[in-house]
């Protein structure tokens, strides 16, 4: 029993030490969407048959909205040192606040994302209301 407890403690300590080491080395870095070409590449990585015809980027490069030829919309957002894509439908909660579009996809464990889209924000907010359910 004591041996098991020691093993338990050492395992827990090793996990924290390894995670701490990764933090100390600053692994992961600061991933941003560089430009619309980068956003298109990420979109096609997420959904191979999504061919974007329209792109808008968050000013800080933390996310992007893309529309394809069929009118589908894809949200790309940063997730650690990677990106996550979500096809949007009418269930998405979209709130417009001047140049900011706040999107909640209701994914468990995922916070709403705030995109600074500048003057494009109202246009994209309006387009979101026309999405299929």
């Amino acid at each position: 029993m004591l041996a098991e407890l020691i093993k338990f403690g050492v395992s827990l300590g090793s996990i924290l030490a390894l995670a701490g080491f990764a933090w100390m080395l600053k692994l992961g870095g600061d991933m941003r969407i560089r430009d619309s070409r980068h956003a298109r590449d990420i979109a096609q990585e997420q959904v191979f048959d999504f061919i974007p015809v329209d792109v808008v980027l968050d000013r800080a490069g933390m996310g992007a909205l893309l529309r394809d030829i069929e009118g589908r919309q894809l949200l790309i957002s940063r997730h650690g040192a990677a990106f996550v894509g979500r096809m949007l439908d009418r269930s998405v909660d979209a709130r417009l606040d001047q140049n900011f579009l706040i999107l909640d996809t209701h994914d468990m464990g995922v916070r709403p994302i705030t995109l600074n889209l500048g003057e494009d924000a109202p246009v994209w907010a309006s387009a979101l209301r026309r999405l299929p359910s």
């Binding site: 090793s14 990764a22 080395l25 692994l27 191979f48 048959d49 997730h79 990677a82 994914d107």
Partner: protein, 316 residues
């Protein structure tokens, strides 16, 4: 008296830790984005939780193995050839388990944890399930006991198999000599297995010997012009440990609740991504659409310029 062997994983853990440290140093120098600290913490915590869950159910699993052994066809001795044979057959059992884990949603709900990282490094190897017992993954080993291999021998071979699979979760190694790649599971083959690219979906289920995939038609090599992207077709997008551990079980529960009665069981035993109204994609659907697109590209590139202009890509 009960026959037992030391657990080889206990001896391997220090090497796991050391190799992860070395890989992190490599990442710092060559590709910092290959590691994400939060993702690493989740992977290691999943590994830790898996060990705890394993300890809790170990007695029950071993009792079932012994019960199966009581009905054995023959008694296979602890001879050198038996160890070799047991290792190979256990790897075949692993292939069957692993293939089922990707093709039956109930099994996938447990195994999905191992695939939910968007990174592929040694810490991903330790991203193991907490719910293997619920997904009855141990049943795939029972035939070995029924044949006549002692449970202690089978579990020892299983542990060696697991240790082998640790080091193949890396991007540090590109390819090995052809003879090795032909027989053994390697980082290249297993990168394909963790990929979300349509070309690679649900391929390379092997544990130690890649020959099973070659034999059963599930082998796909890694190709240079289609770099592997890791994770799930629908990325989980969360660093919440509990959600990572249970999200697919929650998905099954949600589908069972909302589906019409006659379709409910389909959400348990059919392929991940199956839905009664075809509103979702299975890996087969995705691959088929991708293949159609590739075929269209090939046909238009070989036709005349005018035909290319007239042609439209397949959609939907």
């Amino acid at each position: 008296m009960m026959t037992t062997f030391p657990n080889p994983i206990d001896f391997a853990v220090p090497a796991f830790v050391l190799l992860i440290v070395l890989e992190m140093i490599w990442a710092k120098r060559c590709a910092p984005e290959k590691y994400e600290p939060k993702d690493t913490l989740i992977s290691l915590s999943m590994g830790f939780g898996s060990t705890v869950a394993g300890l809790i159910v170990a007695g029950g699993v071993y009792a079932m193995a012994v019960a199966a052994y009581d009905f054995r066809l023959t008694t296979i001795p602890f001879a050198w050839w038996a160890w070799g044979l047991c290792f190979v057959l256990d790897d075949l059992a692993y292939y069957a388990f692993h293939r089922s884990a990707h093709r039956v949603r109930w099994f996938w709900a447990s195994h999905v944890n191992h695939h939910s990282s968007q990174h592929y490094n040694l810490s991903t190897a330790l991203r193991q399930t907490w719910t293997g017992f619920i997904a009855v993954s141990f049943i795939f080993r029972l035939p070995l006991m029924l044949i006549g291999f002692h449970p202690a021998m089978v579990f020892f071979c299983g542990a060696i198999n697991l240790i082998y699979q640790f080091w193949i979760h890396t991007e540090v190694v590109d390819r090995f000599p052809r003879w090795f790649e032909a027989v053994m599971n390697t980082p290249s083959h297993h990168r394909v297995h963790h990929a979300t690219n349509p070309r690679y979906l649900d391929r390379n289920y092997a544990g130690v010997f890649i020959i099973w995939d070659r034999m059963f038609g599930t082998f796909t090599p890694e190709v240079a012009d289609d770099p592997v992207r890791y994770g799930l077709v629908r990325q989980i997008g969360s660093f919440n440990l509990i959600w990572v551990a249970f999200h697919e079980w929650a998905g099954i529960a949600r589908d069972l609740w909302s589906a019409p009665w006659r379709h409910k069981l389909g959400y348990i035993w059919k392929q991940p991504g199956w839905s009664h109204d075809n509103s979702r994609d299975t890996s087969d659907h995705i691959r088929q659409r991708w293949q159609d697109k590739q075929a269209w590209k090939t046909s238009t590139s070989s036709s005349s310029g005018a035909a290319q202009e007239a042609a439209q890509p397949p959609v939907g």
